[in-house]
Symmetry: none
Subunit: 413 residues, 2 copies
């Protein structure tokens, strides 16, 4: 099956955003053995989009569109694909209900152009949008299948995972199943991981092994092709065991859940609680934890202690420690973790203090970070890290390291 | 002038990297008024690349290629463009000298395939590669100009800045410039904004008006084409004034900075400080603020008060308020904002308390959010919001609303 991806949006042609959707979809299609031969970006222009559709239909079996499903006048993907096929649009009632609920909930009056988002191509298979208003759709015509998806990644990704992948899998000519296991790593970079597994990656056939880096975590997807899921599992197992033998200490979970989700679920299961004292991560660690639904059962609260005064006044870090060891030190991290745990009365206390940059602080280099993990009944642990990258990357990586070490500590309790 | 960008590389079609080169080049071309009409990605395959070149040459005046200039067998961009034009390749002596020097300096033996990198299309204008081995080149043929550039951004960017931009500028028929102003909105959705400006958008020509939503903010780009920047400004001004007359209350800034960046810059300029008490945003507000470099000058710290006990113990919200009004209430938001400001000794105290979902809380609906803004010398303000969307969207929107209202309050001080 020959596929191509067409992104529709003048903002891409103006360079306002990069076409990361094409990258994401290419990865997803590769996983189920569909080869992608072209990416195209075309602007919000009916004539050029129509030419692009015709050209794609003449050479590809599967054409996936992203963008141009929104409410405004320059959103014209479904209108133009429908014109190419020679059918009309019809209102999708579930989508209309979602849109109306959106405005009702907000006490807002729905403007007329929002109705447009509930229109789908006549006869198409509709993919619900669980994180937005415009549904996706798929329709086959004259030997090509057209799949139309929303542009915002926050809407696109879940739609692809939940609805589009099963739809595409049943388009495949043979009835083989593609089955994957995802191993989740932390504390190792993508290229170091690849170097350790190069022999396996080079000889891969079935299963395939694909490392991905996303949101500062590395995952490895092992995908097998077989007649049944059980047979695919049997192909995956020895490969997984080999990888665990080499890199087991970096693997924190399997599946689709990120570090913060794994940690919150494990806290819930054990009925444990956590509080955070954050200096350089500035709320990012708390934010990761509280983004998980139901985190209020395990997360009591925390203090963002950006200044020395706040560290001293709210978390009792002695002034002499701040002056001699400094705010960015093993000792400060230790005191912060223990005191935040005690003050908030939680099972765990996590602390992060470091230099996020762009400038050094206290004569300490950008990227130096200390993480403290205090746990009920265990000696407090402090880890020193030297992280690379810009401010944003250092902050995000430090927050995730805190969760990674907390998970390790949790296994010991 | 109609331009398109063709990236050559199978790694892009496998999703291993995103096509950020196309984004960069689109921005550079927009700066000098060259409109980009298509981006294409094609793999390392002679036949498909040749078809792509022919198709591009039939519709565009300027075709910019990235990638496929390296030493290996699957680098075939210049060979294929030369075949399309009907000319051969020739060795570029300065490039060959660069390549030889590279190996001599490192005491390495040059493998034969490296000579291939010094080959350029016969008769082309050569762009030196100051950060790598493969030179770029430009050549005009049958009404189209072909520009071939290396794929690695570290080689591409400096080559474009130093050599390609002057080359492209002298291709331009007239000396027009394109000049933009970006208006930044908050508190209004993209479709509501468009509905309010529909008459302007429909009759747009010069300047053009393009609304765009990103990270829960809406921006509007007004772009004018004129002989000089001053003339472009003169075209933009009346349109901007008309838009401000209609929607001025939602405009918080002009330019490329987001809400949190604008707020931190303004705090720095005024030498003011802020502290936050966050319930439902769970650290996201602090995280937004502290992601801005230099925020430590204005942000003292804050408390994430996820439980009632933390609200009471750390921020002195009276138990009877939590019991009668509830944690999600105007009164709690007011007390949190005033007390966090007092405890941290800052100019502003911001509070957010609400129901992020997925489940209602205290019998209050998902999306109900109260934001408190306490400021030195001004009466504290509390705003009630009813936000739609999933947990993640409610949290991000609530954090940005806090910044938006804080900016409004700041103007009154």
């Amino acid at each position: 099956m020959r596929a191509e991806i067409i992104a529709v949006g003048t903002e891409l042609l103006l360079g306002q955003i990069a076409n990361t959707n094409a990258q994401y979809l290419s990865q997803k299609l590769a996983e189920i053995g569909i080869g992608v031969y072209f990416h195209t970006v075309v602007g919000d222009n009916t004539e050029r989009l129509l030419q692009t559709i015709r050209h794609a239909a003449s050479r590809s079996d599967l054409i996936i569109f992203t963008g141009g499903l929104g409410p405004t006048q320059d959103d014209l993907t479904k209108e133009t694909v429908a014109a190419h096929i020679g059918v009309g649009l019809e209102t999708n009632q579930p989508a209309m209900a979602t849109i109306e609920a959106f405005f009702t909930q907000r006490n807002m009056v729905m403007t007329e152009n929002n109705r447009k988002q509930a229109l789908v191509i006549e006869g198409s298979h509709v993919f619900a949008n669980d994180f937005g208003m415009a549904p996706g759709m798929g329709i086959s015509h004259a030997g090509s299948t057209f799949v139309l998806l929303p542009g915002p990644p926050s809407e696109l990704y879940p739609m692809v995972e939940r609805y589009v992948m099963p739809y595409l899998t049943q388009l495949l000519p043979d009835k083989q199943v593609f089955h994957s296991r995802v191993l989740r790593f932390y504390g190792i970079g993508e290229s170091a991981l690849e170097a350790q597994l190069l022999d396996l990656i080079e000889k891969q056939e079935n299963p395939t092994i694909a490392p991905y880096a996303k949101e500062f975590e590395v995952t490895l997807r092992i995908t097998a092709r077989a007649a049944t899921i059980e047979e695919a599992e049997a192909l995956i197992l020895p490969v997984e065991q080999e990888i665990r033998g080499r890199l087991g200490q970096y693997i924190y979970a399997t599946g689709e859940s990120s570090l913060h989700e794994v940690w919150v679920e494990e806290l819930k299961r054990r009925q444990e609680t956590v509080a955070c004292a954050e200096s350089c991560t500035g709320g990012s660690l708390a934010s990761l934890i509280t983004m998980v639904p139901g985190s209020s059962a395990v997360y009591n609260g925390g203090i963002v202690c950006y200044t020395n005064e706040v560290k001293h006044r709210f978390l009792d870090v002695p002034e002499e420690v701040l002056q001699t060891d400094g705010a960015v030190s093993e000792k400060t991290a230790l005191i912060l973790a223990e005191n935040v745990r005690e003050k908030f009365g939680t099972t765990y206390g996590l602390s992060v203090t470091g230099v996020a940059g762009p400038d050094p602080s206290e004569g300490k280099p950008v990227g130096l970070v200390y993480i403290g993990i205090a746990a009920e009944g265990l000696p407090t642990v402090v880890k020193e890290l030297r992280l690379a990258g810009k401010r944003h990357a250092i902050v995000k990586r430090a927050a995730k390291y805190a969760l990674f070490y907390a998970l390790q500590m949790q296994k010991e309790r």
